[in-house]
């Protein structure tokens, strides 16, 4: 390794003490980091500005421009956002619950049971990491309509229930749980389902939390498949409702669009700001959405 002798050892002698940090002029790096952060958050701040001010202030920045909630009221009145909220809530809870059940059972089977051809089957499951329901929209639409699932919340959620990703994550977790715990439970007379429920599920709680958060944010935000499979207010989730409401050709006022956009992202965004650490940890743990 080549040595760079231009480096002065004196810099190492005085590491970052709190004092030198607070009184130092911000380094170029700090300035760059902050600048990038401001650029990155700016679009969201701009949407906030537009939503809380009268339309006239859309591109006119005045610090003391009058604040208003009118835009939210207009958006709420012009589109059935209450219904969209309800649909999204039903979708997200339904999908996550069903995923937990189906993926837990499959993951348990892969982790602990001698199924013939298990490795091949597991590889087959992993294929779904790449072939998602929205890539196959044409055929999945046909299948959903044959099953009578068009325009239902079940139809939006069902293709995502057997999630390869959930099965993979839970299997990895289950495999790390020592067999001794399982044996102890069996000696106490537990059957397989009781072992799963009393030993494996409680010990995999962090994985469930991580997977649950990732899944919630994915399905809260999902658009293409819900758009294809729904055709009325009764089943549309927020994203699809917002997409239709704010399509440029509808000519809806921009301040109203900002308000509608904030309405749709608010619950998830607030949850994220409150539980930032858990969200980031979950995304990390889960890796793929």
């Amino acid at each position: 390794m080549s040595l760079n002798t231009a480096h002065s050892p004196a810099r190492n002698a005085a590491p970052y003490t709190p004092r030198s940090r607070y009184f130092a002029v911000p380094s170029l790096e700090t300035i760059a980091a902050w600048l990038l952060a401001l650029i990155w958050i700016f679009p969201l701040l701009y949407a906030l500005w537009a939503a809380f001010h009268p339309p006239a202030y859309m591109v006119r920045f005045e610090l003391f421009a009058p604040l208003t909630l009118d835009n939210f009221a207009t958006a709420w009145a012009q589109a059935p956002f209450a219904r969209y909220y309800l649909n999204t809530f039903a979708l997200v809870t339904g999908v996550v619950f069903a995923q937990f059940v189906v993926c837990t059972l499959a993951a348990f089977a892969f982790a602990r049971f001698p199924i013939p051809g298990k490795n091949v089957l597991f590889m087959l499951v992993l294929i779904q990491l790449f072939v998602f329901p929205e890539v196959l929209i044409v055929e999945n639409y046909r299948i959903a309509s044959e099953l009578g699932l068009i325009n239902t919340i079940t139809g939006i959620g069902l293709p995502y229930v057997a999630s390869a990703f959930g099965i993979f994550l839970l299997r990895q977790t289950f495999k790390t749980i020592p067999r001794e715990l399982e044996d102890a439970a069996r000696i106490e007379g537990c059957n397989w389902l009781e072992i799963l429920w009393r030993v494996y599920v409680p010990l995999a709680k962090p994985t469930y939390l991580a997977y649950g958060l990732v899944s919630i944010s994915h399905h809260w935000n999902n658009f293409l498949w819900p758009l294809v499979v729904t055709n009325s207010v009764e089943s549309r989730p927020l994203t699809v409702g917002l997409g239709i409401f704010s399509a440029p050709e509808t000519g809806v006022n921009w301040a109203t669009v900002s308000a509608a956009t904030l309405l749709s992202i608010a619950p998830l965004l607030i949850a994220f700001l409150l539980f930032q650490r858990q969200f980031v940890q979950s995304f990390l743990r889960a890796g793929i959405r």
């Binding site: 390794m1 080549s2 760079n4 480096h7 790096e29 980091a33 902050w34 990038l36 990155w40 958050i41 679009p43 969201l44 701009y46 949407a47 591109v59 189906v102 993926c103 059972l105 499959a106 089977a109 602990r112 049971f113 001698p114 013939p116 499951v125 790449f130 072939v131 998602f132 329901p133 890539v135 196959l136 929209i137 044409v138 069902l158 293709p159 229930v161 057997a162 390869a164 397989w192 809260w220 935000n221 658009f223 293409l224 294809v228 927020l238 994203t239 917002l242 997409g243 921009w254 669009v257 900002s258 956009t261 992202i265 965004l269 994220f272 700001l273 930032q276 980031v280 890796g287 793929i288």
Partner: protein, 294 residues
């Protein structure tokens, strides 16, 4: 373990697997197979049976200049978004990993776009890109420059879409780099400080190679997203002007649900599936032995 007990275990395991197997078959394997089959047939008129035409649909597709335009767009989109967002993600992670005042806020600012739905992000960027009242053109106007038609000019539109996607994705990739950076033992840095290695060469000789598995992992995710995520097009451009921003999956959607040409849609879907198969092979061959997400 007796043989019958073993059999019982096998049966039990298979039963546990059944719900997932049925759902995966219904919504992943069967549709994949029927998509491939549909791409080899032409639908019959008025209830006549479909006619096997071999690769004719593919010939039609490959003779279609729009398809090539869309495929080229998707390639440019991938080349435009992936290296930029990965590089930015790495820079962000290095910023946030160091000692920085207000680190919490900075990290939050980088990551927040990830939480938004693509539709919402596109709505917000619409305020920037709109021709007359959009912020970008207002700013250009204030500087005395003539505005640019960010989404309406075929030579600019794809670039505008790319910029928005980079904004949306970089923060997501950042967290993986951040986690990897925190896993690098501090002794390495101390040793290199003792040797007097500059920060620059420490980065290129130590940090960057150590981050290689993360880079590959992020790269594969970015590749998938470049094919999979087209939600923003519904708001920003609808694939226009004149297909200048159309991407493969959006073209499938158009063929299936606007032009009602299910055969063409199936044929393009097969092309997408092939691309994804390449990505999957990449993942299972290169990344498999160092799966870092578990």
């Amino acid at each position: 373990m007796t043989l019958t007990a073993h059999r019982k275990m096998q049966l039990y395991g298979t039963l546990l697997l059944l719900p997932a197997a049925i759902l995966l078959t219904t919504f992943a394997y069967l549709p994949t197979i029927t998509t491939v089959i549909n791409s080899l047939f032409l639908p019959g008129f008025r209830g006549a049976p479909a006619e096997f035409v071999g690769v004719e649909n593919y010939q039609v597709l490959f003779d279609d200049p729009t398809f090539w335009k869309v495929a080229r767009n998707n390639l440019i989109y991938a080349l435009g978004t992936i290296p930029t967002s990965i590089a930015l993600a790495l820079v962000m992670a290095l910023f946030v990993n160091g000692k920085l005042r207000g680190r919490g806020f900075v990290r939050m600012a980088y990551f927040t776009p990830t939480i938004l739905p693509m539709i919402a992000a596109a709505n917000i960027w619409m305020f920037f890109y709109a021709p007359q009242i959009g912020l970008f053109n207002k700013l250009l106007g204030a500087l005395g420059l003539s505005g640019i038609n960010w989404l309406g000019d075929p030579s600019v539109a794809l670039g505008s879409v790319i910029v928005m996607s980079v904004w949306k994705e970089a923060g997501f990739f950042m967290i993986f780099y951040l986690a990897a950076l925190q896993g690098i033992p501090p002794e390495l840095k101390e040793a290199s400080d003792l040797e007097g290695t500059s920060r620059w060469s420490f980065f290129w000789r130590v940090t960057f190679p150590l981050l290689m598995p993360t880079t590959l992992f992020v790269l594969i995710n970015a590749l998938i997203n470049a094919v999979r995520v087209v939600d923003h097009l519904f708001i920003l451009t609808k694939g226009g002007p004149n297909n200048a921003t159309n991407l493969l999956l959006y073209y499938v959607y158009e063929n299936a649900f606007s032009f009602f040409d299910r055969t063409m849609a199936a044929t393009i879907t097969v092309v997408i599936l092939l691309v994804l198969a390449v990505v999957a092979t990449l993942k299972f061959t290169i990344l498999d032995r160092r799966t870092h997400y578990q």
